[in-house]
Amino acid sequence: MTATTGSHPTRRLILQGAASVALLGLGNLPFAPARAAANDKYPEEAFKLKNEADAIKALYGRTAEPSEKVKLDAPEIAENGGVVPISVTTTLDKVTSISFLVAENPNALAASYRIPDGTLPAIANRLKMAKTSNVTAIVEADGKLYSATKEVKVTVGGCGG
């Protein structure tokens, strides 16, 4: 059984760090990091909210519509609830951000990434899940919000045939 913690300050720092590294890695776009950083105010309030809908609203100020163009890859049953590999890719144009929400976690918003101009919109990360929950990926593209949702089961395991 996976232990659960109430909040995840460390993970957030790591995620922020990872995003920065990714941006700095774009050596052929010398202005991108500075510009992104300027817009990239840490959405502290959104990360504090319990509820998924509230977090989306706090982050984006509107709601998302489900889209087949958002491809969410997540396991049906997590092998380890502590590190669930979840990734998203999209064929949408002009993607500016991608966010991940775990509805049943103590705080629904798990991660949010700014996608600089000219970057392939593909994010793979590992999320900590308290229990079985819907996982939603939000893609912000051309000023609109699109989403995909999949249930990921977190189980105590054992007793296979």
């Binding site: 049906e76 092998e79 089961k153 189980t155 105590v156 395991g157 054992g158 007793c159 296979g160 045939g161």
Partner: protein, 581 residues
């Protein structure tokens, strides 16, 4: 696609009855049920979930195998009479005995044991000989290396030798993984066939650390598929290992590997076989379980036939499933060596034009054991057989395991755990392997091991909150009855000793279990702590192996003196043909 009605389903029973024989007569020459009409140009033979049962066994099929949602009443979720009616099997026939629980005890004396690798070898050689070696293939769907004391102490090496002599050319796995990576790889070194698994990948950490893999670019640990030239055609066999190995078993056995159904990777791979390799047929050798295979067949295109296992369902006819690319046939070939799946394909360039499928019961009394295999089995068993042949108890009732919620074998294990470890409640895993023992026939240590032999047999005693006990039951119940088969793991409900409850399988996850009561009728209190004994924990435990605990209890002679404390009341499934009337 035409599925020929299996007329011989009736004929065995008719022959045995009309000749007035008390038992089936031994002798391969009389066994005309194994004279299959020639069809097509390629024959694929399939065994699965034999669970290392080298000798013929009694194995009673389930009387409770409930399907809910769209799975309700759909094969494999039919038992007893409903099963017989669905597949047109006469109730007094040998096949009724082989495929269902119908009048099992009465028929066991009449039709005898099924399976056994020496008998399988005779049958397989004959069916391959009928079509010619170059036109036939033998595949195994996994759970070949586990299920007996011998396989456990030899870590599956015995079964590799047997597989080589039997002529298995491709296999996939499930319990094979529970010996850990090193033993698995050592065994596969000796295995003359190929181990296939498209759905086992290195974890990111293992890939970063340059762990061993079949294909480093994709991270695939094993070869995903093989292409066989058969009857002048190219047939691709794709392996699908059990998708939930690190969840159903301790993660420590496979720390570097990650599993899953991996539908998209499978689709890509099948498309590649069709486009680049120009194969004429694609067969998925699957350990997904039947409900998962049926869903997968509706979503993944380009697979002609899924040869399925894991859920131990003996399904006489393939289920055709439509998808965007055409139709995929889904089979499941039973367990414990009781059955041999025979898939005859008529292949044309790039396609399967027609199919015949038979799931043949391996009636050990109709087949002469192959001498070479019998000799090998004798040699493998020799070092252990004396130690394990001591008679330790004689049951006063039929002992079987296979049912969704309970069975006398597990009631016995739970009683042994509670008695020997002094616990109020016992939990025992709902495995589907483990053979059936007839009433009045002595049990040996070998029999006890055949119900318990796993690589993590340690028992435990721990205090658990009533609320946590309920959560465990709910969690495992969802593995059986989630309306979406991709969220099921296979296996049956955890067995509870000293605890009764009500279950409504049609309810949502977390609210199926109610009215939990201790022996004596006291309600389980969510905030009280209870002493719980168990075994087969996914967490490391230190207690004595469960087989020693069970043997000690049996030796005490108390076997069935006390009333067994398991009672499950089912709700919400009136009229479900997954329960025998």
């Amino acid at each position: 696609m035409a599925i020929r009605r299996r007329d011989f389903l009736k004929s065995v029973g008719v022959a045995a009855v009309s000749a007035g024989l008390p038992r089936l007569a031994r002798g391969a020459e009389t066994a005309s049920i194994y004279d299959l009409e020639r069809f097509g140009n390629v024959r694929i033979l399939h065994i699965t979930d034999t669970h290392a049962q080298l000798n013929p066994v009694y194995f009673r099929e389930p009387s409770v195998n409930i399907g809910i949602g769209e799975m309700a009443g759909r094969p494999p979720h039919l038992v007893g009479r409903a099963f017989l009616e669905r597949f047109g099997i006469r109730p007094d026939s040998a096949d009724a005995y082989a495929f269902t629980c119908f009048e099992f005890e009465k028929s066991a004396g009449r039709f005898g044991k099924l399976g056994g690798f020496a008998h399988l070898k005779t049958l397989i050689d004959r069916l391959r000989g009928d079509v010619g070696e170059r036109n036939s293939l033998l595949v195994d769907g996994g759970d070949l290396w586990q299920g007996t004391g011998l396989a456990n102490v030899m870590q599956g090496r015995d079964m590799v030798e047997v597989a080589n002599l039997l002529g298995i050319e491709a296999m996939t796995g499930h319990w094979e993984f529970t010996y850990g990576e090193q033993v698995l790889r050592d065994n596969l070194e000796r295995f003359k066939g190929e181990f296939l698994a498209q759905n086992v990948f290195l974890t990111e950490e293992a890939a970063f650390n340059d762990a061993s893999a079949f294909d480093k670019a994709s991270g695939r640990v094993f070869k995903p598929s093989t292409i066989k030239e058969l009857g002048g055609h190219r047939v691709a066999i794709v392996g699908q290992a059990f998708p939930y190995v690190p969840i159903a078993h301790p993660k420590r056995f496979t720390p570097d590997w990650t599993f899953g159904i991996r539908e998209e990777e499978l689709q890509k791979h099948v498309d590649g076989l069709r486009a680049s390799e120009k194969v004429d047929a694609v067969i998925l050798l699957s350990h997904n379980g039947m409900d998962v295979d049926l869903k997968l067949a509706s979503r993944v295109t380009g697979i002609d036939v899924i040869l399925g296992g894991h859920t131990h369902d003996a399904v006489p006819q393939p289920m055709p499933v439509k998808n965007a690319g055409g139709t995929t046939l889904v089979t499941n070939a039973g367990s414990n060596g009781k059955f041999l799946g025979v898939l005859d394909l008529a292949l044309d360039k790039g396609k399967v034009s027609d199919v015949r499928y038979h799931l043949l019961p391996v009636y050990s009394e109709l087949l002469k054991p192959d001498p070479a295999m019998a000799e090998l089995i004798g040699r493998l068993r020799a070092p252990y057989v004396t130690d394990w042949s001591e008679k330790i108890a004689t049951p006063d009732r039929l002992l079987f395991r296979r049912d969704n919620f309970t069975g006398p074998v597990d009631e016995l294990i739970c009683t042994a755990l509670r008695t020997e470890l002094d616990a109020e409640i016992a939990l025992s895993p709902g495995f589907r392997w483990g053979v059936t023992a007839l009433s009045g026939q002595p049990l040996t240590m070998e029999d006890v091991l055949a119900e318990t032999a796993i690589t993590y047999p340690e028992t435990y005693v721990q205090e658990m909150l009533g609320a946590d006990i309920k959560n465990v039951l709910e969690d495992i119940c969802d593995n059986l009855f989630n309306a979406d088969p991709y969220y099921q793991q296979g296996g049956d409900m955890v067995r509870a000793g000293g605890l009764s409850y009500t279950c409504n399988p049609t309810n949502a996850a977390g609210s199926r279990i109610s009215e939990l009561k201790l022996n004596g009728g006291k309600t389980l209190n969510a905030s009280h702590r209870y002493k719980v004994a168990g075994w087969a924990s996914v967490n490391g435990q230190q207690g004595a192996p469960v087989w020693d605990v069970v043997a000690k209890y049996l030796r005490s002679g108390r076997m069935f003196q006390e009333r067994l404390g398991t009672g499950v009341t089912l709700k919400g499934i009136d009229g479900n043909p997954g329960i025998a009337g």
